[in-house]
Structures are given as C-alpha cells and as structure tokens.
C-alpha cells in the first residue's frame, strides 16, 4: 500500500493531568496515522486513555492542569501545539467530533436547526436562508424524516437515535476530512446502533471522510474499521489492519479482548470469559509493560519498557508491544482449537 502523506500523523502523544492525588498519565506515548478516507478504530476499556486521546486531537483537553507532549499533525498543522485561533479554525471544519451522549451534547434551549447553522456560519460567510437550506438537506441525508419541519424542533423533542443523527449531520455540515466519533453508539439501543454505524459507513463512501472511531465494543469495530489500534493503560499496545488484529493478534491484551467475545457459533462457555484483574491506576502504573500484572505469559523481559514496533517482517504496519517471540505468541494465544483468548476456558477468575 503506497504511503501517501497521511491525513493525521500522531507521534509520541503524551497527556498528563495534575490531580489532588498526583499526576495521572492518561496518554502515554501514543503514535498512529490515519490515511484520507480510512477508518481507524481505537479500542480499549474504560480508563485506557482512548477518549482523552480523541479529545486531545480536538484540543478539548486543554486546561491549567494538563500537560502535553508529542505532536498530532493534521496535514501541516500540529494540533497539540496550535494556538487557540488556529485550533478554532479547523474545529468543525477540517476535523469534527461527535460524542457519546447525544442527550446532553446538544444545547437544550436552542433549536437544532439554529445550532447547525451556527456551525456553518462560524466558518463560512453564508446567508441565514442559504445556511438553513443546507441544514435541511443535511438532516435529510442522515435520515431525519420531515426534515424541513423538524429543523425548528428542540433537542428534547427527538429520540436518542435521532439526536445522534442530528449530531452527525452537524459534524458533517462543513465537510470535514476527519471525523472523530467517541463511543457514538454506547448510549443507544443495539438496533439504533446498527443504523448509526450504517450512517457512518455511508459518510465514508459519499465524502471520503476519514473516521477515528473510539469504542470498547469489538463487534462495532468488525463492521466498519480498516485499521485498529488497541489501547491499554494510556498506551497503544497493538495496531494493525482489521484482518491482522482479528486473525493474527500479537498482544496478550488483544487476545483477552477477542477471547471475551461470546460467539454464537461456538459451544456455550461454562463461565463468561474475562480478563482477570483490573486496569492499573494511571497514577502508579507498573514498570515496563503495563499489562504485566494481569498477563499469564509474563516473564523476565517484561519489566523492560516495550516499544511499539513491528515485529513481523511480513506484515509491516502491524506493530505491538509484547516481548514474546512471534512463534510463542501464535502458539500461546490458542487456548482451545481455533479459539483465541488469554486463559483457559473455565479457569478461576
């Protein structure tokens, strides 16, 4: 695959927060790239740093308690070091974001039409009438029925799924090249989830928008992602294409994630598989590999800091942070014939 200039190039991103209990290393050495039109899924559990990463790209984590390191280049602009004005210009225009909870993400006292017009007019000199027209078309495109009437409705007059569609329409109103979606379906019913994902796939097809999809749900990922980055405890522990991650996962945490998916085509497990233990506190993570305490494959080398690098010559771009040799990995991840996971089924948790 030809390496054209990436749309987004994140290098060694670091985000620290000062809290009353100490410094929290929310994002620790995160690097990835997004090509134009590509869908990158960032997967991890709560506390992995995936949302902080996403919001940092939009500059929404800037505060007196936050310290940043590394860079995130959107074409030529480094989002991490950008001035407030530079950031404002690209937000909502080049790079847009939709959030997890559509109920609280819209201002309850303004009509939705007005809220979208506001975004358009912040970046383009467009008349009220013309902006309104565009908004109606946008709403139609995301599947809002009777868009011309509902443009004047208030957010509380919509259902959750509809609200998220409004958010998508709003985010797309200026045709951004990158859309960041932070758990867009977590707060919605499973059936609505499918619809929203469908919308997002459409987006990519229609406008060649790149998407960073932040989620904890691997099922969602399989549907829509081109590449996947697995995050744990502030770090990316593995990154690769959809196939590489699902069929040749290299990091034990990824095995754990894949192993915890209950599959309908398999025998019913005696216990729901899960990854034993809990994520480390971001205040005092273990030395070396953060996953050590929960990893049954831990050995001596694991106390050394593992770089995120490609360890498989045949698969460039498939990087991970595990010290185990590749053959060992491929052997140990099969806990049962054809089944990938972290531990034997039925082992005490």
């Amino acid at each position: 695959m030809t390496q054209s200039q990436p749309l987004l190039d994140v290098q060694h991103l670091k985000v620290d927060f000062r809290t009353e209990d100490g410094v929290v290393h929310a994002v620790d050495d995160v690097s990835f790239q997004v090509q134009p039109g590509e869908v990158l899924a960032v997967v991890g559990e709560s506390g992995s740093g995936k949302s902080v990463t996403a919001m940092t790209l939009m500059g929404l984590t800037r505060s007196p308690n936050a310290k940043f390191g590394g860079s995130a280049k959107l074409r030529d602009l480094d989002l991490v070091g950008a001035t407030d004005e530079q950031l404002r210009k690209v937000r909502g225009k080049e790079i847009a974001m939709i959030f997890q909870d559509p109920m609280t993400s819209l201002n309850p006292v303004h009509r939705i039409g007005a809220q979208i017009v506001e975004q358009i007019q912040a970046h383009e000199d467009v008349s009220d009438a013309e902006a309104r027209d565009r908004v109606v078309k946008l709403l139609e495109r995301v599947g809002i029925p009777r868009a011309a009437e509902r443009v004047d409705s208030y957010p509380h007059e919509f259902s959750g799924g509809m609200r998220q569609r409004v958010m998508i329409a709003m985010a797309m109103s200026n045709d951004p090249s990158l859309l960041i979606a932070d758990e867009p379906t977590t707060a919605l019913d499973v059936t609505i989830q499918a619809q929203i994902l469908h919308e997002m796939r459409d987006l990519r097809e229609r406008s060649n928008t790149a998407i960073i999809l932040v989620t904890h749900d691997l099922g969602v990922v399989a549907d829509i992602a081109d590449r996947i980055a697995v995050m744990y405890s502030g770090r990316i522990v593995e990154t690769g294409t959809l196939d590489e991650i699902f069929y040749d996962p290299q990091h034990p945490y990824t095995w754990g994630l894949l192993g915890s998916i209950t599959r309908i085509d398999r025998e019913r497990p005696k216990r729901l598989p899960s990854i034993p233990g809990s994520p480390p506190s971001l205040l005092a993570a273990p030395e070396g590999c953060h996953f050590r305490p929960r990893c049954r494959h831990e050995f001596g080398d694991c106390v050394k800091y593992p770089q995120l690098e490609g360890r498989i010559p045949e698969s460039p771009g498939h990087d991970d942070r595990c010290w185990l040799p590749v053959e060992e990995k491929r052997k140990r991840r099969e806990i049962a014939p054809g089944q990938i996971g972290l531990e034997m089924e039925g082992a005490t948790a």
Partner: protein, 367 residues
Amino acid sequence: MAALPAGSLFFEKPLMATSSDPATTIPDQDPSEILTEPGGGKPAAGTGPWRLAGRRLRRNKVALAFGALFVLLVLVALSAPLFANHVADTGPNTNHLSDVITIDGEQKNVVEFDGVPIGPQGLAADGRFVLGADRNGRDVMVRLLYGARNSLFIGITASIITAVLAVFLGLLAGYFRGWVDAVISRGLDILWAFPVLLLGIALGVSLSLGGLDLGIFSIEGNSLWIPTLIIGLVGIVYLARPIRGQVLSLREKEFVEAARAQGASDWRIMFKELLPNLLSTILVFFPVLVANAVSLEAALSFLGAGVQPPEPSWGTMLGEGIDLLISAPHLTIVPGAMLTLTVLSLNVFGDGVRDALDPRAKVRLEH
C-alpha cells in the same frame, strides 16, 4: 534464568538485572496468584465514599477552622451559668437599677438618673459588668452569654426538628407518591407561599400571647419552645423538597427492587434502604439550616415575635441595643458581631461539607 518465585514479581521496583535473552524459558504462573497479591503496579484502588469525603474535608483547612470556631462559640455559650455564678455573681434577668458598685474606690451608679447605664468595665469591677449594663441595670456580659445559649439552643433544636420532619415528609411523599405526595406537596407549596419571616411573625404573634395547647401537650406563651417550634416548622420547606426529589429518584434504583423482592415492608425500605442514602443530603443542608434558624430567631426576637422579654437572645439584645445606639454602641455591636460570626462559621463549614461530599472533579477523565 531460573524460575522466579511468584513473590518477587510483585515488587514495584525493578528486579535486579537478570539475563534479558528473549529465548529464555518463560515460567507458567497461576493467574490466581497474580490476583491475590497487590500487583506490580497498583490496580485502581476503591475507597468508600464516606472515607473519601472525610479525607477531602480534612484537607479543607479553612472549613475546619470555621467549624472549630462554631464549636468554640457553643462552648462559650454553654459556659454562661459558670460565668454568671462564679464571675459576675448575677443572673441574666436580674435588675440592678438602683445598685451602686465600687470601682477603684469610687462609687458609681449602675444606671444613672438620666437612664444611661454604666459602660464596659473590663476587669475593673472584678468580673461584674464586664461589658457594662443595659437600661435595666442588667449585666450585659451575662446576658450576652445567656443570650448566646438561648439563640444557639433555639437554632440547633429547631434545625433538628426541621430535619426530622422534612425527612419524614419527604420520604412519605417521594416513596408513596400518589395522593400522599399530592397532599404533602400541596401543603409544602402553601407553606412556601409565605415569606419565611412573615410566617414566623404571624405564628409568633398569635402564639406568644396565649401559648399553644394541643391537648397532648401545651406550652406557655413565653417559653423558648414557641420560637423553637415555629422556626423548626417554617424551615421544613427548604429541606423537604430536595429530600422528596432524591427519594423519587432513589426508589427507582435496583437496590430498592432487590429489597422488595426480599419481601421487605415499605417502612423497612424507607428507613433501612433509602434513609442512609439521604444522609449526605441531610449533612450538606444541616449547617445551613442552623445558620438560617439562628438568623431567623434573631430577626423574630428583634421584632418582638420571637423570644419574649425578659429572656435574652441575640435578637432581643439587638432590639434593645439599637435604641441606645448613640450612647452605648457596644450594646449593638457585640451581639451583632457574635451573631455574624456564628452564621459565618456555619456557612463556611457548611460549604466545606458540601465540597467534601459532592466535589466537582477537577479532572474529567473519560475512558
């Protein structure tokens, strides 16, 4: 490399350098061992919400200082009888209109013929009339202390009454809903329609004349219990609404359903499941309740609808003092200052309690 004992892997500090050859044998570890010990790297620890709140409160030095100030004021007020009997040698309501006292060998009238009382003596008259006398020749210092005692007694007791009744009504209304809620909420609305002071005045005026006689018990018109009950009653509206709101949302939670599934009776659910959860709300409101009660008592007594003479309270003293403002400003300044300090320390401490129990997280950590 030899197989490492399970224990040594769990230290946070790096192990002594061992061979880093990736081809070394990798020991198999029993996952259960990893879990029972604290990992190399602490798992995200959990502490109970009360502990966390206590820690936060302890870190708030300012709030603690004012809390201590309030406690000090209470102790001072409680020392009133001690001071009266052992130092000033007089009661709070004893008139010394025609008395003469000796200061530095001189004879002075406690109250001059033109009605002006003696000023603050400090320590000159061995403890008597430290702050001077009032128009009736009463020892101001003694009255101040007894007044503090009365005001604080009324404030605290009334707040307890308010809390008990408000929680009870809020629980009933929020839990049973339906017509119980309708009746209680309508009642609260009606009480709410009266400005607090006006309602207090109305009740104070009508009750201090003839007292209260409900058959089961009766109270004299000039008893301290009249203002106490009145203030306790009017405060209910402030607390009952928030409690009701909280009960309404709590009753939908799973632990209530679980209790019901276990066969718990309504009363048991209300008092054993819901009430403990209301505790933090009550604690947040209580200092403010006391502050408001003390202020209300002062206002009512100042107007004559609260504590009835000759009993002292900060309010009555302020009322009497303002008449003599020109000649004896200290009679107004001192009780007012003590009142302000009390309310202030309660407000600051109350703020601290609220911050401890319901902080706005300074850092919002998303997933």
